[in-house]
Amino acid sequence: MKKDFENMKVKTLRLKDSVSNIIYYVAKEKNVTESEYIRSLIEKDVKEFKINKAIDAYTKREVNISKAAEIADISYREFMVILEERFIPLNLDSFSIKYGVDSIKKSLKK
């Protein structure tokens, strides 16, 4: 545990009384410290931010799946699952079906 803290920086933040109270109760309910709970909220949001950035770049065709997964800081297959869950299709529409089928035929020609 001590080792984890070594890689962390201290940030101070101000919260409304009402939010601060909720954090206290939720952390108690989840059996974690308030710091741990706030940290998990931030980490979750940062992860979502990175995923959205990656999806945006992918749908704009600026990057391929490999690069998008790198931006999102997740694995290739995780990124494919996320696209599927969010009903975002792969960039297949530029594919020419005829070109693909002809390529297969040529490749299998003896």
Partner: protein, 171 residues
Amino acid sequence: MNTKAIAIIDTSFYIHLVKMGLIDIFINLYNVIVCNKVKSEITYFKYNNMYVPLDIEIFDKLVKDKRITIKNPKKISKKLKSEISKDSGELYSIALAQELDCIVFIDNGRPFEYCKKYDVKCANSIELMVYLNSKKLLTKEEITNKLRIIQNSIPIKYLEDCLNILNVVIL
């Protein structure tokens, strides 16, 4: 040494192939080669240690049984590097396909432009099914069922074009 044609495959294509239960038929058609980068994309998994996706298990077995060979391209052209995301599986796969003058299977449209421009044989899993249907190796009903599995990953226009070619309707 068998006389089957060589095919290079990318991560997205492999994952779809296993998902749709087409890996055996594919391995019977081609001598399959995978680049190291694609191998690491396929096998890299960090959800948890309790569950390993089926396609990883299948991949490991196919490599062990020498039904999939791991190989890297000797060099990557500047043109390719400038058009495809660096250090991606697609980059290495296309470079190897050019080097070996064989087909590359990728289930992602972006590198297609490059392949068409430089006359690299290139296809995806759906086009493979269209071909298999033309050779009567896959029925329209089988294709319909398989397409349902990856339906969310296929753009509607592209799916419609495929279904028109096959004369198939998915409700």
